[in-house]
Amino acid sequence: MIKENPYRKYTGAPLREFNPDAGLDAYIPSDGLKKAVEIARLLQRPLLLRGEPGSGKTRLAEALAYELYGDKYRDYYFEWHIKSTTKARDGLYTFDHLGRLHDVQAFKKKKITKYRRFGPLGAAFRKSTPETPAIVLIDEIDKADIDFPNDLLRELEQQRFDIPETGEAGQEKGIRAAYPPIVIITSNDEKELPNAFLRRCIFHYLEFPGEDTLVDIARQKLRSLPNNPELEEDIVRGLVRKFEAKHKEMRHDPNVDKVPSTSELLDWLQVVAFYAFHKDPESQNKIRIDEDRIVFDDGSELPYPGVILKSFDDYRRTVGEI
């Protein structure tokens, strides 16, 4: 087995803080996630990430690419966002049949390879080398048809694919990866994935982050906002605790439609911070700590609930409780 050369360990350090130059928000991976990334890279298997929506599955690939390649990461990072109509071949290549037909009728002569376009996985195969392994994100694989993962098995295992339209097929002429790209797959568990596919993957389940990590994420998010509101540490922690309590309560309620995730927390913090520093005294809603409890000027327990609660029933139930 060829190895990455040189092998650079994934530490999560470069994006531990918001990076304004690259325009990338902070990404704080857990130790377990870092270890799972290592194992997947060393064994050259796709890493299948599961977890609640908003738990940071999708951002891992970008964060990893940034750590490996810095500002040039876009050259080695490929995203494939799956839709219900996506077919496995779309990720490898597409062939412009109509364009070719049109050109033939117009007597335009072009090399047949001009009509093929590589998809994210195909492009990653071509780009990946032991020195510079490419990173591919296959996002929300469970959105596709039930046969989709199985259609990718051969390509992921053999690291090569054929383009029959151009004659680039077979062991010699087929498109082959010089080194297997690092494949990160995310799933929201909307559909069961086939066993044949699962057995080729490495798995990790992203848990909802603990308080300290949430505070860390929240602080970094606030730093990344344009007006950069300087909320005090204990206020951020108080807000996070309030959100966490709501999250816990909703998570254990079977009648809840949508449990809020980290992304809802970040949106909520943004709104809270916006109104805390609002220039208009009428709109201002300052926050302070009173005996370890967070208190809003407007007297509400959970202001701006519409940012956190995404279904009418959840909203009505919570607002009714306040």
Partner: protein, 404 residues
């Protein structure tokens, strides 16, 4: 004895395969060996020379590594942890390993299996002598570091285990108290209604039921049907219109409700297996499972223990597909000695409440048709299409639904 050392942790792998629903292949076992060999997932320590070296394996690291390789879905995690704990406990009690091995070992006349393919947890046997090292500290060093040697790439390092908890094992090793010891949970005979009790295997069931995925054409197609477009060119000599591929989307929700108390307890294992197969076939997004006891009443339960009630109205509202198929699994009182009026009335009220929203209902009754006579089940079979839990019955359900 004499098993090849490559069978490291095979006992755990074997148990996970046999005692959970994880579908693990040998390839995944070899993956673990590969990880062990290369120290992947192993904690590292920095030596005096500033270089990183593999440290002693801790149980948590081993658990993490095995989960990363084999735990394909978090819903199996509790069972996984339980088996892992049992296995680790067994590693600390070599005598149990020997007994387990004796029970699992193939008969003497059978040919010796090839290296790496042996079904017994042979690796554990080799742990015995290592475990008795008096100077050994707790932990799971899978490499040969304690002997001052480093494992080569071609050699799978051996395991040795914590001896701090093996007082009872010492007794057994000396031939004492072997008869009196409590047998381990894994040695007990499995309950007769296992998931292998289905009248047909899940693969065939999936084959029968794949038609349950119902599609409809969507008007907002965005994909060109190249073949059809070129066909028009052949016929007309020019392209007069672009043909679009019909878009498909799911239109049906498969609502499964399961009676899982009282007389239905005996059927729990295979019903669970059946429900899983159905959901895998139609997709988790397009199916749901709820539970009840005898009849649904005003609520159904989201969990088999009946702790999370959901109102019938809410249950119906949550299914946002245009069509809903209701699939009931219950004996409908067929195990009782006479018809129960309450049961029939309650089911009637339930159907009246949901009939406007449900497109079709099918009832799977685990009791044979002969047992329905004179019981509530017979009356209930007039309210919903009721089939027996036989191969014929199970394969008929898609046919019934298809001909809506």
């Amino acid at each position: 004895m004499g098993h090849p050392p490559e069978l490291l942790f095979y006992g755990l792998f074997d148990r996970l395969r046999k005692q959970t629903e994880l579908s693990l292949s040998m390839d995944q076992y070899f993956l673990l060996l590969q990880a062990f060999r290369n120290h992947y997932g192993q904690p590292m320590i920095t030596g005096e020379d500033g270089k990183e070296r593999p440290a002693r394996w801790e149980e948590a690291d081993l658990r993490f590594l095995c989960k990363t390789m084999w735990l394909t879905h978090p819903r199996f995690e509790t069972r996984f942890d339980q088996i892992f704990d049992e296995y680790m406990e067994m590693l600390r009690r070599p005598a149990d390993v020997v007994r387990y091995e004796k029970q699992q070992a193939p008969p003497a006349e059978e040919p010796e299996p090839g290296p790496g393919m042996d079904g017994s947890p042979a690796m554990n046997i080799q742990e015995g002598p290592r475990a008795e090292r008096p100077d050994q500290k707790p932990g799971f060093p899978l490499d040969s570091e304690p002997d001052g040697q480093k494992a080569s790439d071609d050699e799978i390092p051996q395991i040795f285990v914590d001896i701090s908890k093996r007082e009872d094992a010492e007794g057994t090793a000396n031939g004492e108290e072997e008869e009196d010891e409590e047998p381990m949970a894994i040695d007990r005979h499995p309950f007769i209604f296992s998931d292998k009790y289905l009248p047909l295997n899940s693969r065939r069931l999936k084959h029968y039921w794949q038609h349950l995925r119902r599609f409809s054409d969507r008007s907002d197609s965005t994909e060109i049907d190249v073949k059809a477009t070129i066909d028009t060119l052949y016929y007309n000599g020019f392209i007069d219109r672009i043909a679009w591929l019909p878009q498909k989307e799911y239109t049906a929700h498969f609502a499964i409700i399961v009676d899982n108390e009282g007389s239905m307890i005996a059927h729990q294992a295979w019903v669970e297996s059946l429900v899983r197969t159905i959901r895998e076939t139609v997709g988790h997004k397009y199916s749901s499972v709820h539970y009840f006891y005898n009849y649904p009443g005003r609520v159904l339960y989201q969990d088999p223990r009946h702790t999370q009630p959901v109102d019938i109205g809410r249950w119906l509202r949550k299914m946002d597909q245009p069509h809903i198929f209701l699939f009931i699994i219950s004996d409908g009182g067929a195990t009782r000695w006479a018809a129960g009026n309450d049961r029939i009335a309650e089911w009637g009220a339930f159907f009246a409440r949901i009939d406007r929203r449900i497109d079709y209902k099918v009832w799977l009754n685990p009791m044979p048709r002969a047992r329905w006579e004179g019981k509530s089940a017979l009356y209930l079979s007039l309210m919903a299409e009721m089939v027996e839990a036989t191969e014929e019955g199970l394969s008929r359900i898609p046919e019934i639904i298809k001909h809506l």
